[in-house]
């Protein structure tokens, strides 16, 4: 059954491998995926461990439902202490890797130590082998995966790998699988690089016995219908995530020129419909594809239409590449967006971090805080497409003073650049913000300020807040499975009830990350997509594990608290701009200048923001400083951590 997948412990220093079962108690408390990874990270690292040292553990996992009959359970989760933030490192990707690892017998890998020379792991039908990777070092992410398949003589092998950025210890290097699926935040590829671990390859032929197969398949038919009939997923299946970028830009919610503006005007060449045309022209009408077991098919395939990389194949781009190579550096060319997307995919770098840091450097350059000597001769002005792409390549290889500084992440770079450069760095907990502007959306501002891995939209963003849903609909969603009778507002510029929405979404997203499901299959972009009430059936039919919606909620709450406990152990302090639940001053001081009439002029109200954080802490059972109360830890069964269940 799905529950008998194992944890593989690998020590790269000694070469020792140990395989252990996952006790049912651990399953019920932490489910799997990101939640159980949070438990493993808290238990297997010590306070203050060096993120790039042998004592940091790298966790790679699938969710509780991975590789079962449940829909879209393709997500692979990667966790470690982050070399970018010094706090929680966590990233999640689609593709086909986690199901393959599950068929090979494993749901979690715990990798510690450091190999003397480059190696890769081969996970195969209950065994884990450490193999030489000297010949793979220096290859791009795609070439690495093909070279492993060739070496093993099996085209069904799935690998998660690092590219040159991970090898060069760029602190926001990705772990990647396929052409563009990226565990692309908090520098998990850098942790792999620090361990001399080039790849983890998996091939499995071990059956996963479904507890109630007939019911599981029958239920999944309805589940698929629920998912594919949602308007948001039909749009995703046509345009991919660029449609979100287009809509966000339309009303003025898009971070532009490193936060100077909130809209990229006349961006017609990089709008989703234009990118769709290019994909159709270069690949054909059926250019949308999907991850394992998913019917949404939100991933476009394309070839770069022109320029020095013309004809090269890639996938995407996603919202984040439109932001990184479009709005942030104020570039308006599809060729630039598609080329930039290709470069970060091949080198294995976080497009979001790359685009944000270069846009930040562009603002510093225009302000005279850095000069042309420091940019290595580049005229790093906004709108300079060539400089943008050149700097992207330089960062991957740490070439030149500025690129080398940026490759260490925003906060260390600001310390090297000096002057008042930090004031312009748009980050939370050391991680750059998504290419969205939250000044008109207090709920989203609270989300990015309090997200566990730093500024992030995939940890607690109530994106449906933008849909102006009737209050009755909001109440139906947000009052289950835990009753809630407090305020809720349909108005997305309001502060009313938003802390509860963020708290609810935090638990919702943690639950799907534990189950291994994609967020497009829950209440992220669509209000009518499955959530807590739907998951008990999927879990029971596929695994036989009986859980109520309330128990799933509590497990998610517990896992979120563990992530917070990890961050507190590593120095989280509520109002610390570098390590806290706090936003850059520009959110409070500089009004939106573009967008809809109801958006221009808005800032986040400092006093109301503080009240939102207070209220959010109350919902979570934290004290005013953001630390869990003793009663909360007792209620969640976390009073005696670390407990070393696994």
């Amino acid at each position: 059954m799905a529950l008998n997948r194992k944890i593989g412990y690998v020590d790269l220093t000694t070469g020792e491998v140990d395989v252990q079962p996952i006790p049912l108690e651990a399953r019920k408390k932490y489910l799997g995926g990101r939640g159980l990874d949070a438990y493993l990270l808290y238990n297997h690292t010590k306070k203050g461990c060096d993120p790039l040292g042998p004592d940091n553990v790298l966790l790679i996992s699938g969710g509780l439902l991975t590789a079962t009959c449940a829909s879209a359970t393709a997500r692979t989760h990667v966790m470690a202490k982050s070399p970018l933030t010094g706090m929680l490192g966590s990233a999640n990707m689609g593709g086909f890797f986690a199901p393959e690892m599950a068929w090979a017998g494993f749901h979690h890998l715990v990798i510690r130590g450091k190999a003397k020379k480059p190696v890769y792991l081969y996970v195969h039908d209950g065994t884990i082998e450490i193999r030489d990777a000297k010949h793979l070092w220096g290859l791009s992410t795609t070439d690495t995966q093909w070279a492993i398949r060739e070496e093993l003589g099996d085209e069904e092998v799935k690998s998660c790998v690092i590219g040159q950025a991970g090898e060069n210890l760029v602190r926001f290097a990705n772990v990647m699988t396929g052409v563009k699926n990226a565990a692309g935040r908090t520098g998990m590829g850098c942790v792999m690089g620090s361990k001399n671990l080039k790849a983890v390859a998996a091939r499995g032929t071990m059956d996963i016995n479904i507890a109630h197969p007939v019911e599981a398949l029958e239920y999944n038919k309805g589940f698929i219908d629920q998912i594919t009939s949602a308007k948001v997923n039909q749009t995703q299946g046509t345009l991919g995530t660029p449609f979100i970028w287009g809509a966000t830009n339309s009303w003025g919610g898009l971070r532009t020129r490193n936060f100077q503006l909130n809209q990229l005007e006349y961006a017609d060449d990089i709008e989703p419909e234009r990118l769709d045309e290019i994909a159709t022209e270069t690949i054909g009408p059926h250019h949308m594809t999907g991850c394992f077991g998913c019917q949404v098919h939100c991933r476009a395939q394309y070839r770069i239409p022109s320029g020095p990389h013309a004809g090269k194949y890639d996938e995407g781009p996603e919202y984040t590449s439109q932001g990184a190579f479009g709005a942030e550096p104020e570039c308006r060319s599809a060729e630039t967006v598609l080329t930039g997307n290709h470069l970060v995919d091949q080198y294995g770098m976080d497009n979001l971090e790359v685009g944000s840091l270069i846009a930040w450097a562009m603002e510093l350059y225009e302000l005279g805080i850095i000069n042309k000597k420091q940019t290595g001769g580049l005229d790093l002005r906004f709108g300079n497409d060539e400089a943008l792409l050149e700097m992207t390549e330089r960062i991957a290889f740490r070439k030149g003073w500025l690129a080398n500084a940026l490759a260490d992440g925003g906060i260390p770079a600001s310390e090297k650049i000096g002057k008042n450069s930090f004031d312009y760095l748009i980050q939370v907990k050391g991680m750059s913000n998504l290419h969205s502007d939250e000044r008109a959306t207090p709920a989203l501002a609270l989300n990015i300020a309090t997200a566990s891995r730093g500024s992030d939209h995939l940890r607690s963003r109530p994106a449906i807040d933008l849909y102006h849903l009737p209050e009755a609909v909001l109440r139906k969603i947000y009052s289950s499975p835990i009753p809630y009778e407090g305020p809720l507002s349909s108005e997305h510029t309001s502060y009313e009830g938003k802390p509860w929405q963020v708290f609810w979404q935090e638990n919702c997203y943690m639950a799907v990350d534990c189950l291994g499901i994609c967020k497009y299959h829950t209440v992220f972009l669509g209000a009518t997509l499955p959530n807590f009430e739907d998951w008990p059936k999927v879990i029971y039919y596929n695994t036989g594990l009986e859980m109520t919606p309330e128990e799933i909620w509590e497990a998610a709450e517990r896992c979120n608290m563990l992530e917070r406990m990890f961050n507190l152990r590593e120095g989280l302090a509520r109002t610390d701009l570098k390590k806290g639940d706090m936003l850059n001053h520009r959110y409070f001081d500089e009004p939106c200048l573009r967008g809809a009439p109801g958006v221009v002029g808005l800032t986040i109200d400092r006093k109301k923001f503080k009240q939102m954080v207070d209220e959010f802490y109350t919902h979570k059972g934290l004290d005013k400083t953001g630390k869990p109360k003793a009663a909360t830890l007792k209620r969640l069964g976390l009073a005696k951590e670390p407990s070393h269940l696994v």
Partner: protein, 86 residues
């Protein structure tokens, strides 16, 4: 496990509230429902005056492609001027 197959979950019951053929005006102080005619390329909100270019996912499924830049920029500048005046 006592799985009640008849009872609809929140997400299943909310499915009936989906509306096709319409979208909301992107002005948060308006959010009026707009319903373009089939194939229409632009639509203007009768309430707040914002204008949008329309794209069609399917013949019965329109979405906002983006603003009509000149129209909406003018509205934004006027709104900003009024807010700064206050």
């Amino acid at each position: 496990m006592a799985v009640d197959k008849r009872k609809k979950s929140t997400s299943e019951s909310l499915r009936n509230t989906r509306t096709y053929g319409k979208f909301r005006c992107h002005n948060p102080s308006c959010m009026g429902r707009l319903q373009p005619e089939g194939g229409q390329g632009e639509v203007q909100c009768p309430e707040c005056g914002m204008a949008f270019r329309v794209a069609w996912i399917r013949p019965d499924f329109p979405r906002i492609r983006g603003p009509v830049w000149e129209v909406n920029r003018k509205l934004a500048e006027e709104a900003l001027k009024n807010k700064e005046g206050n």
